[in-house]
Amino acid sequence: MPNHRPFAVDGLDVNEVSDGLIVYYPARDRVHYLNNTAAAIFTLCDGTRDVKAIVDAVGTVFGAEAPLRAQVEACLGDLEEEGVLRSGG
C-alpha cells in the first residue's frame, strides 16, 4: 500500500454536506457516508499522492486532531474494498 497512489473510480455521485461527503456508487448501488476525516482522505485520493503524502496532508489539515497513519490506511483499505478507490502504482 505505501507506494500506491489511490484515486476515485469513475461514475461516483459525490454529494457535499457541511461535515462530510455522501458518495453514491452506482455500479454497486451502494451509499457511503463519509465523516469529515474520511471525506478529507477521499478527496486527497486524486492519483497523484502516495499513502505517505496522504497521511502528511491529513496531518496538515487536522493538526493535533489528525488520525494516526494506521487509521488513514484502514480508511483507504475500506474505501478500496468497497470499490470506490483504486490504487495506481
Binding site: E16, G20, I22
Partner: protein, 275 residues
C-alpha cells in the same frame, strides 16, 4: 360532491349515496398549499351499497361497504400523486414538518416512532405544523403531503385535547379493527399552511419505550443517512434519494431526538428549533 387539493391535483369525488359524504370527509384536507393544481382527478361512486367506483369515467372497482370506498379512492389518488411527483424527481420521505419562529424543522421517523402524536402535540402548542407523515423534497426544498392527521387510539391517551372531540371526527377502521380518526387542523380551529422551502433543523426520532426524552446533536452526514433510510423506494432510485436528501439537509443542523413523554419531547424539540 367531495373536493379538495392534493398538491399538484384537485380531487373531485361525486357520490349518489349521501352517507358517503361523512365517510369521505376522512380524505378531504383543508390545507393551504403552495402548488397550483395542474390536473383534476375525478372519481364517481355509483349506487347505495354495493358501490361501483369509476376513475376518470373508467370502471375501477366494486365494493360492499363505505369504508372500502374510502380505502380504494384514498389508495388510488395517493398512488397517482406519488407517480406524478416521482416523474418530476420529487423524493418522498417519512417525516413531519413544523416551523417555530423563523426556523423550519424536519422530523424524520419511520412508522411507529410517534411522529403523529408528537406533531399533534406541537400543533396543540400552537406551532405551525405542516404535516405528520410524508414530505416530498426536490432541489433543496420540502413540502408536506396534505393529509389529515391519522390518529390512532394510543395517541388519544397521550393527548388530552383529543379526548372530547374525537368522537365527531371522520373515522375508519383497519382490517384488524383499530379505529383511526382523521384530524383536520382547519376543522378544529387551527391554521394549516403548507410551504415549499428549505429546512433549517432536522431531527431523527428514536423510540425509547417509556424512557426519558433526550436530544443530542448529530452530524449532517448522519441526518442525511437517516433521511435516505426513510425515503420511499418506490418514488426514487438510490441516487435520486441521496442527491435530494443531501441537497435538503446538507447544511441543516441535526439532532437525534429520543422520544419520551410527549410533552417533554415536544418541549425539547421546540427549544432546539428556537435555538
Amino acid at each position: 360532491m367531495i373536493d379538495f387539493q392534493l398538491l399538484a391535483y384537485k380531487v373531485e369525488v361525486s357520490v349518489e349515496d349521501e352517507r358517503l359524504d361523512a365517510v369521505l370527509a376522512y380524505l378531504a384536507n383543508s390545507a393551504d398549499q403552495p402548488l397550483v393544481p395542474r390536473a383534476v382527478m375525478r372519481y364517481a361512486v355509483v349506487g347505495g351499497g354495493p358501490y361501483a367506483i369509476y376513475e376518470e369515467g373508467d370502471y375501477l372497482a366494486a365494493v360492499e361497504h363505505p369504508d372500502d370506498v374510502l380505502y380504494v379512492i384514498y389508495a388510488r389518488c395517493h398512488a397517482r400523486l406519488l407517480d406524478y411527483l416521482s416523474l418530476g424527481q420529487w423524493v418522498a420521505l417519512h417525516a413531519g414538518v413544523v416551523s417555530i419562529g423563523d426556523r423550519r424543522a424536519l422530523v424524520i421517523g419511520a412508522r411507529g416512532t410517534g411522529k403523529t402524536t408528537l406533531m399533534l402535540r406541537l400543533l396543540f402548542d400552537r406551532y405551525a405544523v405542516e404535516g405528520d407523515e410524508l414530505v416530498f423534497t426536490r432541489a433543496g426544498k420540502a413540502v408536506s403531503l396534505p393529509r389529515n392527521f391519522h390518529v390512532k387510539p394510543g395517541a388519544v391517551k397521550l393527548l388530552p385535547e383529543l379526548a372530547d372531540g374525537r368522537v365527531s371526527l371522520p373515522m375508519t377502521s383497519t382490517s384488524d379493527g383499530v379505529i383511526i380518526t382523521a384530524f383536520n387542523p382547519v376543522a378544529q380551529g387551527f391554521s394549516w399552511n403548507l410551504q415549499c422551502r428549505p429546512i433549517d433543523v432536522a431531527f431523527v426520532l428514536r423510540a425509547n419505550h417509556g424512557g426519558m426524552a433526550s436530544c443530542r446533536a448529530i452530524s449532517s452526514v448522519d441526518i442525511v443517512a437517516a433521511a435516505v433510510a426513510n425515503s420511499l423506494p418506490m418514488t426514487a432510485t438510490s441516487r435520486e434519494a441521496v442527491r435530494a436528501c443531501s441537497a435538503l439537509l446538507g447544511e441543516a443542523e441535526g439532532h437525534e431526538l429520543t422520544v419520551g413523554a410527549v410533552s417533554a419531547t415536544a418541549d425539547l424539540l421546540a427549544a432546539r428549533v428556537a435555538g
